[in-house]
Amino acid sequence: MGKVWKYGHDIDTDAIIPARYMNRSEPEHLAAHCMEDADVTFAQEVKAGDVIVGGKNFGCGSSREHAPIAIKAAGVKVVIAESYARIFYRNALNIGMPILECPEAVVGTEAGDEVEVDLKSGKIDNKTKKTTFQAKPFPPFMQELIDAGGLIPYVKEKKKNA
């Protein structure tokens, strides 16, 4: 079970990890500045297993993989959003940062709610509000990538079989 950190629409990658910290790429360094320009308390107070809930177009802007790396290294279990920017979506799945798309859960969840998320089934259980939501399933190919553990293991496997 994790606590919800709720943000609005169009959370950009500069908000997730400002470029001024990208002169280094160690996950723990990035995690220490995660969400800094949107919420200075986040990096200090986030606990392992917490959940980020965002609006539409989460992760828009730069192609920096540092963004999902920072979120993952901060201990966030899953990001739930109405929709994702294209590059962030690819990057998150490629590095094994769980993300779910569920507009209903975004509407039905407030900051501080306790939620339990089953990543396999996409079931989102808001314990505080006693409501449950079902995230959209991934397209089959994306599921295959996720099951392989991300793009690198997937490509490795493909190369081996080639």
């Binding site: 470029a19 177009n57 192609s63 590059i87």
Partner: protein, 508 residues
């Protein structure tokens, strides 16, 4: 003529009347027979989506029974319509690189890449991921390019270490297209200039503004470091074929000082920062065809700011004149079929577009320059991968000639490449700018992303020809960035507040 006019389609044991109101003249469906019938009709493209058990080898071979009859019907109804139509330039490039006759939006393909790009921010992470693949060479030393442009010349020890990772990897792999400080330029100015990105190419770059190369008629898209690593290793990447959106500009006459920057900001203002999310934007019309390459590159560059996967412009004489002088390998010109399918078509009168200013903190917050007029600023930035090309500097120099930068303004100029800088110098523009009181820098992404060389303090406001005005983009989280074209930037630098260039240039 519609080849499906008389075809008898059904779905398993169930037959369904669909009607014609969805733009489709297919009346009934049979899922398992669709491919067969399509293949029999000579002038029809083969069906694309893997759900329909295409016989050709694909990355995904889903069992057609795995989807419900309802989903299948829905999909066929949609795809059936598309199959009757031609292809867009984006679909043609993707199909050609995937070794397919055709593709349809939504289809997932594996395609060969003409170029893979990374920079000093995304490159080190890509190199680390590349290492995990257990491969000791990149797929092609000519086609993997590394451009240390973000925090260079190295801004501090940490960024020096990042650059070193890139440099060492380039050396170890024998990568041909690597440039160090003194020769390096801003990647999206440098690669077109060097003839490394060409019409018909399929390109991925670990930088979101990789979409810039769409201006040359290439399908180019930004990816993250891991996708880039896989691309460097295999020369391939997977793509979901995007739906296309068409943006038509009617008329080759624009308002004075209006350029490519205003057109793309105007579009983003209309459709929003996710208005083209996952889609390919295609810019066309005599308005676009009347623009120079520099202006077109600016338009394609900011397609990502509408969430797009690509921002593409069909090559014409202007494109080919630009490319012919630079290309060192073959290229192919693709054009959209007249009956290609677009999810949506937007039409504008070129003359109606006023000079644009995007207010904080999203590029979609656009207003006309007159609405922004009088807003005090502290810093003006002219340059970047969006507006750091020769024509951009020319416009700025033209406005600054014989004038002085306002005493309370810091005006920073960042040419895109060394060649651009040198040419601007030869033409006297750099001298003009320096005499006006502007600081002219070596090419770097520096201030655009708040990296270095022009960071804003708390409460400061910049007017910039760059591409993003997110919170904290250029410095302190409580600073502000306004986006505009080089003419507005230069004129405002003189006036000390946002102003229409006509207010500064007598004959403007």
């Amino acid at each position: 003529m519609n080849p499906f006019g008389k075809a008898d389609f059904g779905f398993g044991h169930e037959k369904e009347e669909i009607g014609t109101k969805h733009g489709s003249r297919i009346t009934r469906f049979r899922a398992f027979s669709v491919i067969e019938i399509l293949k029999q009709s000579g002038n029809v493209r083969q069906i694309g989506p893997p759900e329909f058990c295409d016989q050709r080898p694909r990355m995904v071979q889903a069992n057609p029974c795995a989807i419900s009859p309802g989903e299948c019907r829905e999909a066929i109804r949609e795809k059936g319509r598309l199959l009757l139509m031609g292809m867009t330039i984006s679909e043609k490039i993707l199909a050609a690189h995937a070794g397919l006759d055709s593709v349809v939006p939504g289809e997932i393909i594996n395609a060969k890449l003409d170029l893979v790009l990374a920079n000093d921010v995304t490159g080190p992470v890509a190199i680390q991921e590349f290492g995990k693949l257990g491969i000791d060479q990149v797929y092609d030393k000519e086609r993997v390019t590394l451009v240390p442009d973000h925090f260079t010349p190295n801004k501090d020890i940490a960024s020096a270490e990042q650059s070193k990772i890139l440099r060492d990897f380039a050396k170890k792999m024998g990568i041909k297209n690597y440039w160090d400080v003194g020769r390096v330029g801003i990647e999206h100015c440098l690669l077109p200039e060097q003839g490394l990105v060409l019409p018909g190419d399929l390109i991925i770059g670990a930088d979101s503004h990789t979409c810039t190369y769409g201006a040359l008629g290439a399908f180019a898209t930004g990816v993250g470091s891991t996708d880039c690593a896989a691309g460097m290793a295999t020369g391939e990447a997977w793509f979901r074929v995007p739906e296309s959106l068409k943006f038509v500009f009617h008329g080759s006459k624009f308002q004075p000082w209006v350029g490519g920057k205003d057109l793309i900001l105007y579009i983003i203002g209309k459709i929003g920062v996710d208005g083209a999310r996952y889609k390919a934007m295609e810019f066309t019309g005599d308005g676009i065809r009347s623009l120079s390459m520099d202006n077109r590159l600016t338009i394609s560059n900011m397609a990502i700011e509408a969430g797009a996967k690509a921002g593409i412009i069909e090559p014409d004489e202007i494109t080919l004149a630009y490319v012919k002088a630079r290309a060192k390998r073959d290229y192919k010109v693709y054009k959209s079929d007249p009956d290609a399918s677009y999810e949506k078509i937007y039409e504008f009168n070129s003359e109606d577009i006023p000079l644009q200013v995007a207010f904080p903190h999203l590029p979609e917050n656009t207003k006309s320059v007159d609405e922004a007029s009088g807003l005090k600023i502290d810093q003006v930035v002219i340059g970047s991968c969006t507006n750091g090309r020769l024509e951009d500097l020319e416009i700025a120099a033209k406005i600054l000639k014989g004038k002085k930068i306002h005493p309370e303004i810091r005006c920073l100029v960042f040419p895109g490449t060394q060649d651009i800088l040198l040419e601007a110098m030869r033409r006297g523009w750099i001298e003009t700018m320096i005499q006006a009181g502007a600081a002219v820098s070596t090419p770097t992404c520096g201030p655009c992303l708040g990296g270095h060389m022009g960071i804003l303090a708390k409460g400061e406001r910049a007017l910039s020809t760059t591409n993003r005005n997110f919170v904290g983009r250029m410095g302190h989280p409580q600073s502000e960035v306004y986006l505009c074209n080089p003419a507005v930037a230069a004129a405002s630098a003189v006036r000390g507040e946002i102003v229409h260039p006509r207010e500064v240039v007598n004959n403007g």
